[in-house]
Symmetry: C2
């Protein structure tokens, strides 16, 4: 990894050149580099934690002056229990994943001696813009090396000392390997994001990891494709035939197990015919966990009248009236918008109009309605009788993730190594020319025989 | 298909709503719609050809005044031999392709009763901006219906009468089918392209089909992902061990079989050690077909001194001196830039620095050098001993193509139906919640078992 104060365009040009070398390295060379990175970080532990302590000290002082949130300060801390070990283990976990490079995904015999193959290959140069968490840099450098992509990293200023220390260790480690030094670059100069976002000549994909504001800004400021999601407005449709206990369990998990996560529940749609039966125990369980319910008129009336809640004026007093905007809001906190819908068709229409194409679930005892919901909802994840919080690369078994995408092209949902790949078509011939083929007299026909992979 | 004078945002909103219905239609319903389109066009032949004749008349008058190129006028003509029949056959060809919707591409058992599947699904709403050729509209409407995507079509003004006549026929045909009317929309109002390109809320992918200028403009003017290519700067590296006759055949086909095509040869790189042996017969064959050769100093000197050409002062007089810009130019005509390089490494570096990532070939007798070239060149197509002009969806056996992409994400190279698909993850559970899983005491572990597709 090189640590650069070069101009953004010099850094990007160097990354592009390095990407062409990295793309041709065989798997053992990329894996050896990851082993070296692991060893280098292990050896540099004291220096890195000392640098992190300096970042932390500055951040705490800023927090005391009210310039930084305490939760951000907490995310900076590499010394927290298990964090350093997790970071190191992550490097080896990525190394041990299946090689995503060079997989043959199509083979066709175009004609005798003329064969077409489609082979996975790295995308090229990734620009990764991230905020405070310093361990992300080791994770992303590992993913880049494993997938054969060059990476330009631009981290949040609060972690600069940590980033620089980690970069130095990785850079020294890579020096003894076949991975070119320019393949992973940390850009430490300030205010260069707009310049980087303009370098579509060198940069193939931008991955912003951070707040919704960061992602929205990046998407609006570049012609380079952006992989990520600004919003995670997940919904659950509670259908009348759902199992009542399961409904409570899944909705409580979806809403309360980590309210600030992008895969947490933000809107609960309840079938009108189930307002008196299924909704009250769900509401009671949520209220008991301090969830604020913003209810439309029908759901509020049903809850107020229900035997479950009517004996608890305290709970009823906690119900709030939903405004229209609540159904377009990602609360990222213990607030939930609640609305009644007539049936699965209305639920699908609501989700398609108001959701963020992240993850939406139906709770129902009917396989037919479940399939209809999952076919009709346009989202990266569509679930039946399971918590929305399963939307995660680790939980899906991808080993790791570079993020979750709500894009409609390339990669969608949790994105692992596979999402950092594209393909190329290779044609191997023996001097074949197109003028020999056609419909006319004496011309050859294409064979287009599928070959085994 | 509806023919709309509605505002662009109304058209796009209607297309989005229709896309949600179209995405859930089973294959037979989509295929029946294509059969109906074929019948409708067949029945409306006289009306459509009469409308086309009016477009043609106006275009010929504009050409006479020098406002339109004669080649554009020729492309407008639906009455040309075979064109109408090809257009109709194309509709049925698309219908008979394998269904790209609902293919399962990953299945994982996350835990007992909790299964993850990845299923292909349509992208959503496509905006297709194209220029004059009126038959394209039938082709694109067919691809959209087959792939389950809604499409907004905006055609060049020279073909308006033809487009309207074809649209009316398709619209009437779709009325008797399950495909909603808003699923294919022709926008005929003028000057709406900037407004359409701003509708990223409704439109998921833009496919510009036309001149380099159109593609460049579209790419610079929208946040919506764009599928296509602005340039097709294809190169061939003639390595010293190439078979001489094969070199002549492949280079002549690549350059002269259709010089205006994006997969035609624009730059010839010749290994320095082969300048006296392999280059002269190639140059002679190209010059005999009126190809203008723009040569760097070394290749010009070799040709001037060669026994093949030195006896023909006429041919030598035709050699031109290359300027640097020639190696970054897509001539789209019978002009070829010619340059000497030391070896395969220099050839790869030249192609990566100057090419357009479309299609590049090596001609060599060495499998090892061929593989090195194909691994090192970052392009959608990398060929060994075959003409660059094979880069085409029909020739690759994709049945049809929506275009050729030089993008580095999603789809690359000739893009068929597969390139119009994305996927969604479906999770089917029995009330599973994430809080039950983890490393601690009493918590469950994920199974992550790969299941057969």
């Amino acid at each position: 990894m090189s640590l650069t104060n070069a101009s953004p365009s010099e850094a990007a040009r160097a990354a592009k050149e390095a990407s062409h070398v990295l793309a041709t390295l065989p798997e053992p060379a990329r894996n050896e580099a990851l082993t070296a990175i692991h060893a280098g970080l292990t050896a540099a532990k004291d220096d890195i934690l000392a640098a992190n302590a300096r970042d932390l000290e500055a951040a705490r002082a800023a927090a005391d002056r009210g310039h930084l949130s305490p939760s951000l300060v907490s995310r900076l801390d590499l010394g927290k229990k298990g964090k350093w070990e997790d970071m190191l283990k992550g490097v080896l976990d990525v190394r041990d994943l299946e090689d995503p490079v060079g997989k043959i995904t199509l083979r066709t015999k175009l004609d005798d001696g003329l064969e077409l193959t489609r082979v996975t290959c790295p995308i090229g140069v990734l620009l990764i813009i991230f905020e405070a968490r310093p361990e992300v840099i080791a994770n992303i450098a590992s993913l880049a090396v494993k997938s054969g992509n060059a990476a330009i990293l631009k981290g949040g200023k609060e972690s600069t000392e940590s980033f620089v220390a980690i970069s130095k260790a990785i850079s020294a480690a890579l020096d003894g390997t076949k991975v070119p030094n320019g393949a992973v670059q940390l850009v430490t100069t300030r205010d260069v994001i707009p310049q980087l976002l303009d370098l579509d000549r060198y940069i193939d994909l931008v991955i912003p990891r951070g707040s919704n504001e960061l992602v929205r800004y990046v998407k609006s400021a570049t012609r380079i494709p952006v992989l990520g999601h600004a919003d995670g407005l997940c919904s659950i449709f509670l259908e009348q035939s759902a199992d009542p206990k399961m409904a409570v369990d899944v909705i409580v998990d979806s809403k309360t197990s980590y309210p600030a996560a992008c895969n947490s529940l933000e809107t609960l749609l309840v079938q009108e015919s189930a307002l008196d039966s299924l909704l009250p125990p769900v509401a009671e369980a949520l209220l008991a966990r301090d969830v604020v319910l913003r209810c439309d008129a029908k759901t509020k009336a049903a809850l107020t009248a229900s035997s479950t809640l009517s004996s608890s004026p305290d709970l009823i007093a906690k119900l709030e009236d939903a405004r229209d905007a609540d159904f377009d809001t990602e609360f990222l906190s213990l607030t939930l918008a609640v609305k009644s819908v007539a049936d699965v068709g209305e639920a699908v229409a609501h989700v398609n109009a108001h959701g963020s194409k992240h993850t939406d679930a139906i709770l129902t005892g009917s396989p037919e309605l479940a399939e209809r919901f999952m076919a009709g909802v346009d989202a990266a994840g569509v679930y039946w009788n399971a918590s929305t919080r399963f939307a995660d690369g680790m939980r899906y078994g991808f080993g790791t993730e570079v993020g979750i995408s709500t894009n409609k092209i390339h990669s969608r949902g949790p994105v692992g190594l596979e999402g950092l790949m594209i393909y190329k078509y290779k044609v191997r011939g023996r001097g074949h020319v197109t003028a020999d083929y056609g419909e006319g007299e004496g011309l050859k026909r294409y064979k287009h025989e599928k070959l085994p992979l």
